[in-house]
Symmetry: C2
Subunit: 431 residues, 2 copies
């Protein structure tokens, strides 16, 4: 039986994990596929550093074209990340008749539609299981396992770094800065963690998930994105007292004939499974019309976890190749009941709000008066510890309010001279 | 493009769900598969009763052979359940060149190996996503998504009825009998709920999961099976006070070079996700060597949920048929590091134990003396409410002990004249 020849672009952490798995599981993979997966070439800028897997030096090259142009290579596995030059490499590989496996969420989020169209044009497949949730088979589950379903919403904890920081703060009572330092020390956060903690990585993954669920590619600009850097330890603790955990959620949700796509810190009731997702773990909560409410949970990062997903793509692709099939990514039918994206201003939610107020009579009356003016009603209010500080925290839960009204009310309240700086409003989800 | 013709055996709850989905999602399924799925024939003993889907009367037949022998039918979907005559129908269909989709866990558990061999012999596929966890794509995830992984263990809440009863008891402080009555009233339990509450249904599903994870078909006799009918409300409440929920778990776990397969009520720490799985929901917690610890959660039953799984199998099978592929169920390599099954006597666990003891001096000394004799050490002990009852409950958590030793110690303790009837021992899992 014909070997399936593959070429790797990127021989870093995940790339060497893939090589390790293909070597160690050679026999069992071969028996499952019916053909051998053969690593023909590995391109990387750095071919000198030692990896944790030994490899024939002859396979390594600094010239990516030796992978892309090799007529014997069937599959190109792109693991360098980022938009450029990954995009150009993939396009050239497709044009040279290669199938593609990629873990590149940023690229798929920003150029997926274009790449999928080029692939379909050439009758080649693009597989991308490792792009969301590492080894959790969420892409396969949405595309294949739930193929008959329509979706109502998807709520994802899809950034391990942010979740690690928030759950460390909650479990160990440490500040954001301390938790971030710790995450960096353990290798759970990059030196420059901006993409993760600002929510952009979550937004990239949300674009992919929303495409699979609703059949439309939203652009990054269409997504409301708020990261976790302004979440304070006190808010985490106040939320806890009220029975909630704060998580960074990536949300795509159908509301009547509109689709909401947003990434932001969210209060989740402790009884909900998503509130128990800790440390580097990811979880995707899917609401579907036939299979109901589902949760997919697992480590959101890690060399072997991501490599496990890449190898599962390889096995699928090898079977496609043997059968002469190609799998289109463009046959996901757009949910025709969605007519437009809902702007964040128009979304509704319950909110957790914290004001820092002077401890004097009449403050609460002023605040609640302004909220009432905007039609916002209060579900609960607590004035926290009465210290000799200049301002004391007032914590409120408010009933369902429109974002636009809430923002206007907050702006007005913040201008009161009895209110200090740093008012906080965090959305709540029943999920 | 050639139509894929299917025949249904069984037009009950799930069967009519499948028909409904195939009709309502016709266009989107066709665009995904590239061919139309056409229902050619539906066999059922009862072709007179009204279903919640309208259907051309001409499709219905009482004669199952009209499905099995129809040369134009590519796929036979078996949804009647039970061993006989489902087994004979499937074998005859395979011999007549049909591919099979089934939701029949009892049949697969007891005769899976035989059926898979016949299918391979004929180059036909058997798909069975709906057999475990209804619409949760757990079969696909284990077979395909985690294809490169070796497994350490699988812990499943796989029987919705049992989980409904246990979680009702825990949430609403009701007795087993009350919870069962309620489950029956809501249609969540059969009139004769024996298979569910005695753990046999869970054991059937465990056989399927263990095969996918470890490559061996264990027989029902090899599985230690204990149901939930002896779980009392007091034990649920005592467990809760100690920070645990009681769940019926189906467990397959590698311990050194042995495999443990068992179904029994289990104390699970409240911080673990499995403890939060309530009502009719199922969840499967998988420990794998590459993708790590994963959880798959969703409704464990329901017409459309199970039908969603059947239709996903249909889509996969339709693609196989178009490509001329068949998918073997025999290419799962047995984990060669497992040399035998571990007998329940030899398994180790922490335990929750409750004795009913006379409230007099020296009782605890006697109990702990006997435990010590068997090398069993106590982690915690609480004597519960001191009422005027003849016996008071003594609740203990004991450290890791061998089942055989624990049973011997319990037998000896039960013979003490200070100890009443109904001592209870429930395993604990850290998971």
């Amino acid at each position: 039986m014909k070997k399936i020849n593959i070429g790797l672009i990127g021989f870093g952490n995940v790339g060497s994990g893939v090589v390790k798995i293909l070597r160690e599981r050679k026999a069992s993979l071969k028996s499952k596929i019916g053909s051998e997966i053969n690593i023909k070439k590995i391109a990387d800028k750095d071919i000198a550093s030692k990896r944790n897997v030994s490899i024939d030096k002859g396979l390594l090259t600094k010239d990516v074209r030796e992978v892309i142009l090799d007529p014997h290579i069937d599959v190109v596995v792109e693991l360098i990340g980022g938009i450029h030059p990954a995009k150009e490499f993939i396009i050239e590989a497709l044009k040279n008749g290669k199938n593609i496996i990629t873990a590149n969420k940023a690229l798929l989020a920003e150029c997926g539609k274009e790449l999928f169209a080029i692939a379909d044009d050439r009758g080649k497949s693009i597989y991308f299981e490792a792009s969301v949730g590492a080894g959790i088979p969420i892409i396969k589950s949405l595309r294949e396992g739930l193929v008959a379903n329509k979706f109502h919403s998807i709520f994802g904890i899809v950034n391990g770094t942010s979740n690690y920081i928030l759950s460390e703060m909650s479990r160990n009572n440490c500040t954001f800065a301390e938790a971030l330092r710790q995450a960096q020390a353990k290798g759970f956060a990059e030196k420059d963690p901006a993409l993760d903690i600002a929510g952009v990585d979550s937004a990239h993954k949300l674009i992919i998930l929303a495409y699979l669920c609703f059949g439309r590619f939203v652009s990054l600009d269409d997504i409301f994105v708020e990261g976790i850097s302004r979440i304070s330890l006190s808010d985490i603790n106040y939320a806890k007292e009220l029975g909630f955990e704060i998580k960074l959620l990536a949300i795509a949700q159908k509301e009547k004939d509109e689709l909401e796509v947003r990434v932001h810190p969210t209060l989740i009731p402790k009884k909900h499974l998503l509130s128990s997702v800790e440390s580097m773990f990811n979880a995707i909560y899917v609401s579907s019309d036939l299979a109901g409410e589902l949760l997919f949970y697992g480590p959101g990062a890690g060399q072997l976890s991501a490599a496990s997903a890449v190898v599962s793509d390889l096995v699928d692709l090898a079977q496609d190749i043997r059968a002469g099939l190609f799998r289109s990514n463009l046959n996901i039918i757009a949910d025709s009941s969605i007519v437009k994206l809902r702007k964040i201003d128009e979304t509704h939610s319950r909110y957790y709000i914290r004001f820092m107020a002077k401890d004097q009579p009449g403050v609460l009356a002023k605040i609640s008066g302004i909220l009432a003016k905007f039609g916002i009603s209060i579900a609960s209010v607590t004035q926290k510890e009465r210290k000799k500080a200049k301002h004391v925290p007032i914590v409120m839960i408010i009933h369902d309010a429109r974002e636009k009204d809430l923002r206007a009310a907050l702006a007005m309240i913040t201008r009161l001279n009895v209110i200090g700086e740093n008012s906080v409003a965090i959305r709540m989800e029943e999920v």
